[in-house]
C-alpha cells in the first residue's frame, strides 16, 4: 500500500516535471491568453449583452471570459506553471549538478567508440610526451579536464560550457519569481479584501462623503491600481479602484493637490505634452513638496507611484446667451453655468434642465482630406508631413444636454466661434437624440458678423400671430396696386398657407402638399412638379426677405436694396430655418465667454511585487542567453600506445558541434604530431 502511494507520487512528480507537461502547460497558457485578448475585458455587462446575446452572455460570464486574467481557471494554469517549473528545477538539479561537476573520466573505451562523434589516429609523438601535449592543447582551447591513468590507456576527460546549465536554473527560477511577483501585484489581493476583508464595492455616482467605510481601503493595502480625478486648485488623498461593476476608495498615505494642468501642442495642433504641477503633502509628517509629472515621467513616493494618465474639465465657468427658438420677443438672455452642473431652466420659462457635460477651449480638427495632388502622395524625396496643413483649431466647443420634464434628453455640441464653410460664416450646433447617433449639424448663417439676424427672422417666420402681417408685406412688395384685389388676396393666402405649412413641417410638408393637392390628376409631368416646387421656394425666399426687412425696422435699422448679393444669405437662412424645425430644442445656447478650469486624471499604483518581477526578468534574460549560447561540450581523448581515440558529446544537437569536433580533432592531431588534414570532405 505504502509503496503504491509512494510510486504514484513519484509518477505524478515525474509527469509534472516532464518536458511534455511543460509544453502542454505553455500551450494552454497561450490559448487562454488569446481568449483574453480577443474578448474585450472588463466591459460593462450590457456591452457583452449586445455582443453575445441573451443566451451566451451569462454562459461566458460564468466561464469568466470577461475577466480572464483574474478568473480562477487562469490563475490555476499559472499555479500549475509555477508548480511544474519548480518541480522541474528540483528534479533536474541533482543530475544537472552532477553533470556540471563531473568529468566522466571513467567512460569506457567501448562506449566512447559508440559516440556519434569519434575519431582515431596514430599519434607521432613518443608516448611520454603525448599526455602533456593533449592537456596543453585542451587548456589552450578553454577546456577544464581530468586525467585518468587506466590499464587500457590514459583518458583525458575534458568539458566546457557548464555555465549553460546554470542558465537553465536562472531562466526557470526566473519564471517562478515572475509568476509569484505578478500574482502579488495582480487583483488577487483586492479580491481577497472583498471576499475575506468584508469590503463591498459601491456605486460610482455618489458624493465621496457618502461612501461608507465598508467601501474604503486603508493605506496599507498590499497592492492596488486606481484613478485620481483632481481639478485645478483641488486635491485628493484617495484613489478610486474599479471592482466588479462598483468602486472602492483606496486612501493614500499622502494628499495630492493640483496647482495646474498643462497641455503643450505641436505646431500642427497635435498634443505634445501633458503635465500636472502637483503639491504632495505627507499625511504623517505633514511636510509637503512640489513636483511636476508627465506621461512617461511618473513620481514614486512612499511606495506609491503616481502617473499622468489623462485629463478632463475641472468645472470651467461658461457664460451663455440663451436665445428663444419658441415665438417670443425677448432679447438674448445671459446665463452662467459650471461644467458638470445641472441648471433648471424654469426661471426662463422652460420646463427643462440644462446639463453642461463638457468643454474644450482648443479643438483641432482635420478640416480637409489629405491632398494627393502629388503622384504617390509625394512618396519620394524627404518624408515631409502633409496632413498637418489640414488641421485647424476651430476654437472652443461645449457639449450639453437638455432634459425635458419626462426625463428625455437630447445632446448638443456647440461651437463658440463662427466656422467658415466655403467662404461663408455660420454658427454651428450639433444635435443628437442618443449617444449611439452621430451629431446632425445646424448651420446658422451670419449676416455679416451678426448672428441676431437669423434668430430675428426665425421669430417672425415661426410665429403664427405674425404670419398674416408678413404675408401682407410680401404681397404688397410682389404686386403693385394696379393688380386687382382677387389676385392679391390669392397670393396673400398662398403666402400665409405656405408659412403655416413650412412652420409645421419644413420643406417636406410643402412637397407633400404639392403631391396631395396640385396633382390629384395623373396627367402631371415631373416638369410641372419642378415648376410648382420652384414657385413655392420663390415665395418662401421672398417671405424670408420681408421677415428680414421687418426685423431690421423693428431694430431701427434701415431697409436694404434687393440685390443678388443677398441671395446666398437668403438661401442659407431658409435652409437653416427648415433644419431648425428638427433641432428639437426650444432654445439655442450661444457661448459668449468662459473661465477655463482643467482637471488631471492620475493613476496611483502600489506594486510591491515589482522587485521580484524585475529581478526575475533580469535572471530570465541572463538565463535564456546562457542556455542558448553557452554550448556545453565534453571532449574525451583516450591515449593508447598505438592509437589516440577522440570523442565528443554535447547537450544540444547542432551542426557547429560537428564543426567544433572536426576543429578539435585537427588541433589534437597537430598537437600529437600527426600530419592532419581536417575532417575528410564528404562528396
Amino acid at each position: 500500500m505504502q509503496g503504491a502511494a509512494a510510486r504514484f507520487l513519484a509518477a505524478l512528480i515525474e509527469l509534472l516535471s516532464s518536458m511534455r507537461f511543460a509544453v502542454s502547460l505553455l500551450t494552454m497558457l497561450a490559448i487562454a491568453s488569446v481568449i483574453g485578448a480577443v474578448v474585450q475585458q472588463n466591459e460593462p455587462a450590457n456591452a457583452y449583452l449586445n455582443q453575445f446575446g441573451q443566451f451566451w452572455e451569462p454562459v461566458f460570464a460564468r466561464m469568466g471570459l470577461y475577466t480572464v486574467y483574474g478568473s480562477n481557471w487562469f490563475l490555476a494554469i499559472l499555479a500549475f506553471l509555477v508548480l511544474s517549473t519548480t518541480l522541474c528545477i528540483i528534479h533536474q538539479s541533482v543530475p544537472m549538478l552532477r553533470e556540471m561537476r563531473g568529468f566522466r573520466e571513467h567512460a569506457r573505451e567501448a562506449s566512447l567508440r559508440l559516440f556519434a562523434r569519434h575519431a582515431n589516429f596514430a599519434p607521432a609523438l613518443p608516448p611520454a610526451a603525448r599526455r602533456g601535449a593533449v592537456t596543453a592543447y585542451l587548456a589552450g582551447a578553454g577546456f577544464r579536464f581530468r586525467v585518468n591513468e587506466r590499464e587500457d590507456g590514459v583518458l583525458v576527460a575534458a568539458r566546457q560550457g557548464a555555465a549553460g546549465r546554470i542558465g537553465y536554473f536562472l531562466a526557470h527560477a526566473a519564471i517562478v519569481l515572475i509568476c509569484v511577483g505578478g500574482l502579488l501585484d495582480g487583483n488577487l489581493p483586492l479580491a481577497l479584501q472583498i471576499r475575506l476583508g468584508g469590503k463591498v464595492p459601491t456605486s460610482g455616482d455618489q458624493p465621496v462623503a457618502r461612501i461608507p467605510a465598508s467601501a474604503r481601503l486603508d493605506p496599507d493595502t498590499w497592492s492596488y491600481h486606481g484613478n485620481l480625478y483632481i481639478p485645478e486648485g483641488g486635491s485628493a488623498d484617495f484613489a478610486v479602484l474599479g471592482a466588479n461593476d462598483g468602486i472602492l476608495l483606496q486612501s493614500l498615505p499622502f494628499k495630492v493637490a493640483l496647482k495646474r494642468f498643462r497641455i503643450d501642442y505641436y505646431a500642427s495642433g497635435m498634443p505634445r505634452r501633458y503635465a500636472s504641477d502637483l503639491v504632495i503633502t505627507d499625511n504623517d509628517s505633514g511636510e509637503s513638496f512640489e513636483r511636476t509629472i508627465e506621461v512617461n515621467k511618473p513620481l514614486e513616493y512612499r511606495g506609491v507611484t503616481l502617473f499622468q494618465s489623462g485629463f478632463d474639465d475641472g468645472g470651467s465657468i461658461l457664460r451663455f446667451a440663451l436665445r428663444d427658438l419658441v415665438p417670443s420677443r425677448r432679447p438674448p438672455h445671459p446665463l452662467d453655468g459650471e461644467v458638470g452642473a445641472r441648471l433648471p431652466l424654469a426661471g426662463m420659462g422652460y420646463d427643462y434642465t440644462l446639463e453642461i457635460t463638457g468643454f474644450r477651449p482648443i479643438n483641432v480638427e482635420n478640416v480637409a482630406p489629405p491632398s494627393d495632388d502629388e503622384p504617390f502622395g509625394g512618396f519620394f524625396g524627404g518624408a515631409r508631413p502633409q496632413t498637418s496643413e489640414n488641421l485647424r483649431n476651430l476654437g472652443p466647443v461645449f457639449t450639453f444636454k437638455l432634459r425635458d420634464a419626462a426625463g428625455q434628453a437630447r445632446e448638443f455640441n456647440n461651437y463658440m466661434l463662427p466656422l467658415e464653410i466655403e467662404g461663408r460664416k455660420y454658427l454651428v450646433s450639433g444635435v443628437r437624440a442618443s449617444q449611439s447617433e452621430a451629431f446632425h449639424y445646424l448651420r446658422i448663417p451670419l449676416d455679416g458678423d451678426a448672428a441676431d439676424t437669423w434668430f430675428a427672422i426665425r421669430q417672425i417666420f415661426f410665429d403664427p400671430e405674425r404670419h398674416a402681417a408678413l404675408a401682407r408685406r410680401f404681397t404688397e412688395r410682389s404686386l403693385d396696386a394696379a393688380d386687382e384685389i382677387t389676385l392679391r388676396d390669392r397670393l396673400r393666402e398662398t403666402a400665409e398657407n405656405t408659412l403655416a405649412l413650412f412652420a409645421r413641417g419644413g420643406l417636406e410638408a410643402i412637397s407633400d402638399f404639392i403631391e396631395k393637392t396640385e396633382f390629384t390628376d395623373r396627367s402631371a409631368t415631373e416638369e410641372d412638379r419642378q415648376h410648382v416646387g420652384a414657385a413655392f421656394i420663390q415665395i418662401l425666399q421672398g417671405l424670408v426677405w420681408d421677415a428680414w426687412m421687418s426685423a431690421r425696422e423693428a431694430a431701427g435699422q434701415t431697409a436694404l436694396e434687393t440685390s443678388d448679393g443677398h441671395a446666398p444669405f437668403i438661401r442659407d437662412t431658409l435652409l437653416a430655418l427648415a433644419d431648425s424645425i428638427r433641432y428639437g430644442a426650444p432654445l439655442y445656447l450661444q457661448l459668449t465667454g468662459y473661465k477655463h478650469r482643467q482637471a488631471t486624471i492620475l493613476q496611483a499604483a502600489r506594486a510591491p511585487g515589482k522587485p521580484l518581477v524585475y529581478t526575475g526578468s533580469f535572471l530570465l534574460a541572463l538565463g535564456v542567453f546562457a542556455m542558448l549560447y553557452i554550448r556545453e561540450r565534453r571532449l574525451f581523448v583516450l591515449l593508447k600506445d598505438d592509437e589516440a581515440l577522440v570523442a565528443m558529446s554535447s547537450n544540444r544537437k547542432t551542426i557547429d558541434t560537428d564543426e567544433t569536433f572536426a576543429h578539435h580533432c585537427a588541433g589534437l592531431a597537430a598537437a600529437l604530431g600527426t600530419a592532419s588534414a581536417g575532417p575528410e570532405e564528404s562528396p
Partner: protein, 400 residues
Amino acid sequence: MKLASSPPSPSAPLAVRETETAPPMPSARKEWLKRRDFGDWFYALALLAAASVAFLRYGEAMDGYDTAILALHVPILAALGWAWRPFRLFAAAVAALSLAGIWLYQGDLARAEQIFFLKYLFSSQTAIAWMSAFFFIATGAYWIGLLARSGFAGRTGSVLTWAAAVMGATGLFVRWYESWLLGPEIGHIPISNLYEVFVLFSLFTALLYLFYEGRYGTRKLGAFALLVISVSVAFLLWYAFTRGAHQIQPLVPALQSYWMKIHVPANFVGYGGFALAAMAGVAYLPGLQKLFAGRLPAPEVLEDVMYKAIAIGFAFFTIATILGALWAAEAWGRYWSWDPKETFALIVWLNYAVWLHLRLTRGVRGTMLAWWAIAGLLVTTFAFLGVNLFLSGLHSYGSL
C-alpha cells in the same frame, strides 16, 4: 586519418567554407583574438573614433542615457563586425551614405527636391524606394539561382540583398535627420510607426539571412528568406501609397520615451528571427524537398537554421518583452496590464518557448518543428499587425 563524424552531409557546407566566416567558438577564445586581422583592428578603431567625434561634437546635448548608448555602440558593433566580417563593410557603407545624405541637406529639408543626389539617392524615401527595388530583384535572382542552379544568379542575389540592406539602413538614418529638420520638437528616431518598423523588419530579416548565408555557405535559402521580405516590402509600399504612411508625424506623448529606442529594435530582431525560421521551415517540408529535388539546402542545415534563428529571435524577444514591461510601468502605471498587444507578445513568446522545448523532447521530428515554426510566423504576424487591425488597446501607434 579516419574520422566518423555523423551525419557527414551537414558538415560539408561548413568544411568547404573558407574560415573567413568561421563562428566564434567559445572553445577558442585565445585563437579568436589571434584571428583578428588588420581590418578588424582598423574597424574597431574607426568605431571608437566615430563615437569620440560624436561625443566631442554633441556631448553637451546628450544626457546620461545617450552617452551610455553611444559608448555601448562601440563594443557591440565591434563584436558584430569581428564575429561577422562582412558586417564591417556594411557598417562603413551605411555610415558613408547616411553622412553624405545628411551633409547634402545642409539643414534645409526643401533641398530633398532640389539636390540631384538627395532626390535620386539619399533622401529617406528615395533610399527606401531603392531598398524595395533591390529586395524585389534580389528575390528574383535567388529564385533563378535556385531553379537554374546558377551560382551567378545566387551571387547577384546576395549582392543585391546587401545593397538593399545598406539603402534601407541609410533611409532610416536620413529619415531620422529629416524628422529633426521638420522641427526640433518633432525630431525622433524613425521606429515609431508601422511604416518605419516595416523598413526595420525588412532590414533586420535581410541581415539575419545574410549572416546565415555566410555561416552555412549556402545561398539556396535566399529564395525563401527574400520572399518574406518582399511581402513586407510590398505591404510597406501599399501602405505608403494608399495611406501616405511615410509622412513623418510628431510623437504622441506616450511614445516619447527612452525605452522605445531599445524596445522596438529588440522586438524586430525577434520578428526577423522568427520569419527566417519559418522560411527555413517551409524549405524543410518533405513536400518541397521532393519538389525541388536536390536544389534545396540539406534538411540538417535547415533544421539548424531554424533552431539558430528561433534561438536568437527568442532571446531578443525575451529582452524586448521585458523592456516593454519596464516601459509600460512608466507610461501606463503597470508593468503588465494585459493589453492585447502585450498579451500577444506573451503568446508569441510562449509559442517559441514551446518550440524550443519540443525540440528537446524525445520523439519530436523535424517536420513537426518545421510546421510549428511556420504556424509561429502566422501568430507573430498577427501580434505584429493583426492586433493593431482588429483589437483595440493601449498601444496608440501603428494602427492602420
